[in-house]
Subunit: 121 residues, 2 copies
């Protein structure tokens, strides 16, 4: 079952994405096991839309931010597509819901509760 | 809020456990981002009881197995207590449910679906 687009093409630039069949729960959890990556996913879920990397004002270097997006993409959590010069990021909600029904919302709920508890978010 | 026992004592041996206040979602997800640790948690949930480390027949060395249990303990997923010569392991269901309602069952459900999909379990 490879319903997902494995590569996102634009102007000769391609970004590799795992198909649903290639996605693994342990990889998804690893992608979400970092505070910065959790903040990215939280924001993508909040706006319910794609966002460019430049949208995110996180306390990390640009290369570290790029790394975080790559981990999210390679695990199947995020789809990255070039739109002109911008790299757009969107949650792969449909793929995650098909493989692990309810998991993403459960994780986002847990994150929201933790942010409330720690006075963050 | 430190309702949890921070150390488990027996015969002078103590094992450090994070309190609820010290537990972090990213740490819990990191602990669950490894296939062997997911198998341990799956088995502990299945039997609904404490199990000694020696119960687990996983394709890793004994020192690696010890490492996996330590990661699970230090993140707050598992409580480890000495009973005589055995180190017993139990899921911290109440603490996880209090901090992140529904998350553990959601994760176990996702794992079950993945095991079915990959013909494992």
């Amino acid at each position: 079952m490879t319903t997902s687009v494995n590569t996102a093409r634009s102007g000769g630039r391609e970004l590799e994405h795992p198909s649903r069949a290639e996605m693994r729960l342990e990889g998804v959890l690893h992608a979400l096991s970092d505070p910065m990556r959790l903040r990215i996913v939280h924001e993508l879920a909040r706006v319910e839309d794609e966002l460019p990397c430049s949208h995110f004002d996180l306390p990390v270097t640009k290369s570290t931010l790029t790394h975080h997006f790559r981990v999210l993409r390679e695990s199947g959590v995020v789809q990255q597509t070039y739109r002109g010069t911008a790299k757009m990021n969107g949650l792969r909600r449909a793929d995650l819901a098909a493989l692990y029904p309810g998991l993403l919302d459960s994780l986002l709920g847990a994150l929201g509760r933790q942010n409330d508890r720690l006075g963050e978010g």
